[in-house]
């Protein structure tokens, strides 16, 4: 994308304006595409112990001196219940049908969704709506009876916290495990950049679950990554 890759300590705020620390002196910064969670962005505004953030950034943002993408609070769009509404959102804004279908998603906050999920718990993947990193989920086909019963209780206690989806049969790929090559599950995350037009990056993030049989590819759970090529033809 041709923008400098910076860390929190490469930026500072002076007079409520954001600057980048360079050998040519401070350079003004007007827009930041950030990969930090809200709570680490600015120790003066949120988590005071954060060493990753930029002190004063949020005040500069409030005064309109810097644009943050994604804006503060956009984490709400990460709520997994949004999956279920995607076809309806596309229809509402574009009056079109989705070209790529999403995985069928049941919202446990809705009575039919909850009933369906409880009935088919051993076939479904159930995920907490507000979590990420592969935490707190249930993979029905791989769970024991006791785990299923336990999860059913959690689900009934707080149905709004969950969605469920059919278990996807992820592909496998040859993976170096110790001294041998074994099959491990992978997924592919493509990236699309939206500006005046939309283009898909000619590559992607391939994540691999390093534990045998596991369908959880998240790096926070010990997952790895694979080099990914897109062939021209």
């Amino acid at each position: 994308m041709g923008v400098p890759l910076v860390e929190g300590k490469d930026l500072f705020v002076h007079d409520h304006k954001v600057f980048m620390r360079t050998v040519m002196g401070p350079k003004p910064v007007h827009a930041i595409y950030r990969r930090l969670n809200d709570e680490f962005l600015d120790p003066l505004a949120f988590n005071a112990d954060s060493l990753l953030g930029v002190p004063g950034l949020v005040e500069a943002y409030r005064r309109g001196n810097v644009t943050l993408a994604n804006a503060l609070g956009t984490g709400v769009a990460d709520d997994k219940a949004v999956y279920a509404y995607m076809p309806r959102i596309i229809r509402y804004y574009l009056n079109e049908d989705p070209i790529l279908d999403s995985v069928e998603t049941h919202i446990c906050a809705e009575p039919e969704g909850l009933a369906y999920t409880l009935e088919n718990l051993d076939k479904l993947v159930v995920k907490p709506v507000g979590e990420s990193g592969g935490y707190g989920l249930l993979i029905g086909p791989q769970a024991t009876r006791a785990e299923l019963d336990d999860f059913a209780r959690k689900l009934q206690d707080n149905p709004a916290n969950y969605i469920s989806q059919p278990t996807i049969g992820l592909s496998v790929t040859p993976t170096l495990c110790g001294n041998s090559v074994e099959a491990r599950h992978v997924d592919l995350r493509p990236f699309a950049v939206t500006g005046r037009s939309v283009w898909v990056l000619p590559g992607g993030l391939s994540r691999v679950a390093l534990r045998k049989g596991s369908l959880v590819v998240n790096s926070s759970q010990g997952g790895g990554s694979k080099d990914t090529w897109v062939m021209a033809s």
Binding site: P4, K9, M20, R21, T22, V23, M24, G25, P43, D49
Partner: protein
Amino acid sequence: MMIVSPTPLLSRYAECMMWLARYMERMENLARLLEVTETFVRNAEGQTAWDSILAINSDECLFEQLHTSAQHAEIVPFYVTESRNPSSLVSLAQAVRENARALRPLVSIELWTQLNVFSRNLLNLKNGDMTEHNLAELCTRVRQDCQTHFGIAEGTLYRDQAWLFYRLGKALERSDQITRLIDIRYHMLLPRSEAPGSDIDLTQWTSVLRSAAAYHAFRRLRPVTLTPANIVGFLLKNDGFPRSLSTNLRQIDETLALLAVHDNLRQICSPLRECVAELRASLQDQTAEEIIIRGLHDYMSWIQNQISHLQNAIAATFWPAPVYPDVASTAMADQEQS
């Protein structure tokens, strides 16, 4: 030829580039010093003068803190595997790794790969791996690994501002190292009671040259006359020898001149260049004999102070410590490297 990049170099990258070069250079020097000391350097009693390395690095206090008795046998591990000693090979390997990791977007894959492998090897060293028999072998390998690194850097690093900070770091470290070496070894070999010009121990003086990788070059220039003043003069003032003080001061100046070409850097660089000009002038104005008669130690100390002042001035100019309002100011402050 210098490439001016559209986005200016981040201060953090400049700092890491400089310290990457400094630590690599320091590691090469230390490996060579250990190697030469083991083979050649002897004290008055004819024993290996390991403690001269402590003096060269000004590490006597730290060594005494970590060891109740100043056992010579403990000096080698202190410089190889002791992680509490910031100038040991393992500590330097760690420091080099941290800087190189931060520089991953800037350095070539070849540079990172070589550095990754060799620093890992060093970090995995155990005390048991290091016996009297294989110290020389280990040091030779480290020295060659460092030289490989410098070769890869020369052959693959993109010539933009980052490269200039790398060059600055290398020349600053060489300037510092050569003055330390001369200072300590000269006074070890020439006690004050002994008059300059009396019989000298050729092997010991040759080892000073070897410690600076200068033996061959010196012999080409002076096949016959090996005197302390000649050696001191060569290491301080020879413009053709790549590790001499004068060569490195010249390189610091040339590098600052290249930096000064960028937009607004001319003014910023000028106090730094004045400091280097003063050092160079003082070196040109005196012969080695004059330096020795006026007091080699004081002159070496002055140069070391000036170099350290220059390092601090470069840091204050290109990566000034951020000033944060009240909260968490100490925690946010950068970790100083040295």
